[in-house]
Symmetry: C2
Subunit: 600 residues, 2 copies
């Protein structure tokens, strides 16, 4: 069967050959699962996504969302698919079974997400946001709040959002002005306006649960005075029944480049009546709460972009092996039949590049998810700290790197399709439009870069960075034991040395008076980190594959793993070394240039 959306063979390889994820079921936390069950879940997810989500992808884009009389209507075809999504319990995959979650390992959930997102991201997003709201309730809600909301949110019966951004407070959340006033009964009255709220309103669920960042009267300025509230669209009575409208209203929806199946709403609270909410967690600690769930969200964005890329790549492979055009290079017989374009070197170059990036990103995103599981199953504090550290340092990288390289893969896929790729006859142009958001939302990549250089690189006196380096070097050492991989391992090892020097140089500069110049190179340094993680993942894959090439039936697959590593290390890592040279130059033209020189 032709692979669509995601390559099942490669997913299995990552899960069970590279990461040996089935070993997780030895831990108590996942003891209820068997390897067979995990296989089955992925098989079912694939079948569900291809059968129910994928057919709605194009229509969702075409029909889009509508706002009429303050109510948002989603594409009609989403209603049935969302119902099945809910009934099939595909939403709260990793969440606690106590409140209706599936309790799956994160790394297994990645495979499910890959199929769902790749088939129809905006549809999947309704579930992702519901579960994101639920996560905040689970972390910060009182027992009463948990009992009132959690089951309905995790099941997808109620939707969820995140109300952070305001017109003057985008990346700068400290400037939030939405006000909360205590009602004295444990609830607060909220008043304010938010923008860019994904799924702020929709007609898929009977209620919507909004986590809201707001400022309690008299709170300190900046991020230290922000609290987190839970604001339902309809008030939920103590018996769990749905009460009156809570005066949180959608006042407008954005027209966007992509994601047409998901409304991006302007929301108004308390304008025409009381809008009540519960405080989640402590007063003025809202940002900390929000940040705790940000790691999940940022991995999800990386995964979104990667899943778009995975789908785009497979569409491109399919097209390149079918589309006949031109003769084989060097064939001078004008009457020779046309060949599939996969035979043309430049098309092969693009496919090879896409393959390496998609496989590398699959391993990368799954690895971060695996770290969540390993941290959760850790038997010692040191182990837990190790994996938490890896999550911390890799989160800005997985978000930003995958969002950019995933988009680049989509662009290359369009190029393989030629003129057809630019038309709506094929899904590539939509995938490309949908994918573009990833570098922007949930903390733009510039914010990720500041987090990476400003907080993560020096975390625990650089121990976290060191842990990451040691993990990479472990793989390099392993690869060196296989003769055919020796040169690659050596090259990556040398690149790692340069990387450590470069990171140290920039980290030091960031603590000097020339910190502005250091932050010019925050993004480039983060990108280089991503390159090296990719090379690491691909080399790791090669060390597994090389022991299995005798398996004749799967020789192409395993050989292909080694080729991906070869391509990346011999053709991409030299460019990464160039990027590090560039960083080490620390040229400050972008800082020292006068502002009025930017435009005549």
């Amino acid at each position: 069967m032709t692979q669509t959306i995601a390559d099942r063979r490669d997913i299995d390889f990552v899960l069970f050959e590279q990461f040996e994820a089935d070993s997780l079921i030895k831990s108590e936390k996942y003891a209820d699962f068997t390897k067979k069950m995990l296989d089955m879940i992925i098989t079912e997810a694939r079948s569900f996504a291809l059968k129910e989500f994928l057919p709605t992808y194009k229509e969702g884009d075409r029909e889009g969302v509508r706002l009429e009389n303050g109510a948002v209507t989603v594409p009609e075809c989403y209603r049935r698919a969302h119902k099945l999504y809910q009934e099939g319990e595909w939403l709260a995959l990793t969440q606690s079974p106590e409140y209706g979650g599936q309790g799956l390992p994160h790394v297994i959930a990645q495979a499910v997400f890959e199929y769902l997102i790749g088939s129809n991201y905006t549809l999947t997003m309704y579930g992702i946001l519901a579960c994101g709201s639920g996560k905040l309730i689970e972390l910060y809600g009182s027992q009463k709040i948990k009992d009132l909301f959690l089951q309905n949110v995790y099941s997808g019966k109620w939707g969820g959002t995140m109300l952070l951004t305001e017109p003057q407070a985008g990346s700068d959340l400290g400037s939030i002005t939405t006000q909360a006033v205590s009602n004295g009964d444990g609830t607060y009255s909220l008043k304010g306006n938010k923008i860019f709220i994904s799924n702020g309103d929709q007609n898929l669920t009977e209620n919507i649960i909004h986590p809201v960042l707001a400022r309690i009267q008299g709170a300190p300025a900046g991020t230290r005075g922000i609290s987190l509230f839970l604001v339902p669209k309809f008030w939920v009575n103590d018996d769990g029944s749905i009460g009156e409208f809570n005066h949180i209203t959608c006042t407008g929806i954005e027209e966007k480049m992509g994601l047409h199946g998901s409304p991006t709403c302007s929301m108004s609270m308390g304008e025409k009546g009381l809008c009540r909410g519960y405080l989640l967690g402590e007063e003025n600690k809202g940002m900390a709460g929000m940040f705790q769930m940000m790691n999940d969200v940022r991995l999800e964005v990386g995964t979104q972009s990667f899943a778009h890329a995975s789908a785009a790549y497979l569409y491109a492979v399919d097209y390149a092996t079918q589309r006949l055009q031109g003769r084989k290079l060097g064939d001078t017989d004008l009457n020779a039949p046309q060949v599939p374009i996969v035979h043309h070197p430049d098309v092969r170059r693009m496919l090879m590049s896409m393959k390496a990036y998609v496989e590398g990103m699959r391993s990368f995103t799954y690895y971060v998810a695996l770290c969540f599981d390993k941290a959760a199953c850790a038997e010692t504090d040191a182990q837990k700290q190790h994996y938490t550290g890896l999550i911390d340092i890799l989160t800005p990288v997985v978000k930003s790197y995958c969002s950019e390289k995933g988009f680049d893969v989509c662009v290359q896929a369009m190029q393989v399709f030629g003129g057809y790729g630019y038309t709506k006859d094929y899904p590539i142009e939509q995938i490309l439009r949908d994918c573009k958001i990833c570098s922007i939302y949930e903390g733009s990549n510039g914010i990720q870069a500041m987090d990476f250089l400003g907080r993560k690189l020096g975390m625990n006196n650089g121990q976290v960075f060191l842990s990451l380096s040691l993990e990479i070097e472990k793989t390099i050492a392993m690869a060196k034991t296989h003769d055919p991989l020796f040169t690659m391992a050596q090259k990556l090892g040398q690149a790692m040395e340069t990387f450590k020097e470069t990171a140290l140089l920039i980290a030091r500069l960031a603590s000097s008076k020339n910190f502005d110049t250091a932050f010019l190179y925050a993004h480039p340094l983060m990108e280089v980190t991503g390159d090296l993680v990719m090379a690491w993942m691909l080399l790791w894959r090669a060390t597994v594959a090389i022991t299995r090439t005798a398996d004749k039936k799967q020789a192409s697959f395993y050989q292909g793993q080694i080729k991906s590593a070869e391509y990346f290390i011999h053709a991409m890592i030299p460019i990464t070394l160039g990027k590090m040279e560039s960083i080490k130059n620390c040229n400050d033209a972008a800082i020292s240039i006068r502002e009025d020189a930017f435009a005549g």
Copy 2:
């Protein structure tokens, strides 16, 4: 006045300070112009573009084109703008005055195009395609054909197209099957179907003149049997009056990612009645004819992408200097006012990068245009050959490099806008969609790369490549005479040495039995060539600017020129060196991988 779409100061700098384009008026060909006239033409073009074209940009995208009963309707607001475009004689800028052209130097026309394209490309395109058809008539038409068509085409009274592509013949034009049968009276009857025909039908002009590639019965297979015909939508009687419908029909229009203001048509010829055409040029020499005009078209595509980038950059600068968000890095006062985002290092990094690429591409595209003028004014055969050679070798580079880097600039501009950039509130998302076509059409960049490596690199025993290198080295030598530029000049000089080695290596490989591997690196080598041309152009600008920094009023502008060069040579050229390392590795994974390894 705020700069919009294109930076007039920078245009003047390129034209009159870097290239001294006013010296062209010393030649007989352009003797009718004065410097003052040239200035005025650009001023008028700017004013016309901003006043009449720009206001139609968004509406053209939103309304799009419609096909009803075989007739295409363009966005209503285009009708007035197109009339003014025609009345203002903005179409045939460089064409011969004998047939209504303006006879302007190409390099001056670049400035006009930059404003028109940046304001509304699809509207400009109606004129560009009319003139493209006219060019073929001027080159290959009999006197009768010229008299019948040319004036009306160059004035924009009649539209034009190019009918090349068929479903099975995209990049592979040799597979064209459209048939032409002689009628014995100097005309031919055509029968066949074409796809992807820009502006194949529209309601802007009373007639449309279609150059068509077709095969005369009994012609040899492949590209050697293709002839070029001129097929009007309505037959033109010998007295110049419009006659009967000529049975060339639009049977469908594509839904596309962008360029919504321009119909991409499927065309059918001779299905329900006689479709007649004139042969242009000799039988079976149609491809040669088509290729002769391809240099113009490819420069235009590079210019299109660059103009999108130029507009996107200026929008981003404007936004970054207005949008308040966050505090200055290192400012710990939570009550400090928000600053414009241009103060944040990562935003500055993006603006600096966009500035360097936009300025480099402006010089690059204008330089290729200048080579057309220099070739036309050449006093000796050697001079003519020199400039024609530069056009030949730079054409695939200017098309592919600008199409890719121009798009990258648009992507960065969107990133500067954050979430707003993804919405239709700002023009960036449309510019990005419109720009994406450039790497694909008029010979996909893969085709450009084959042309570059397969034909241009070794042209005249490598003399053309040598000419280009010598031109670059001339600038390097000049820069070395200015102390502050010495290090930059030296670095670029070293990069040029590596470049020549790399190009030679790949050129040799292309003539060996491993030519497949060589062609894997055709695109990377072309990209590296583009990088070096950019560095050359920016260093050239710096050599001019450095002599003028004493001009206090313009100190920012001139200093900004030096900063662009610094940025590019210190921060980008190290990456180019990495790309050359990568090329020199000649890794063949993409060739040696088994085809079935591309997807599980």
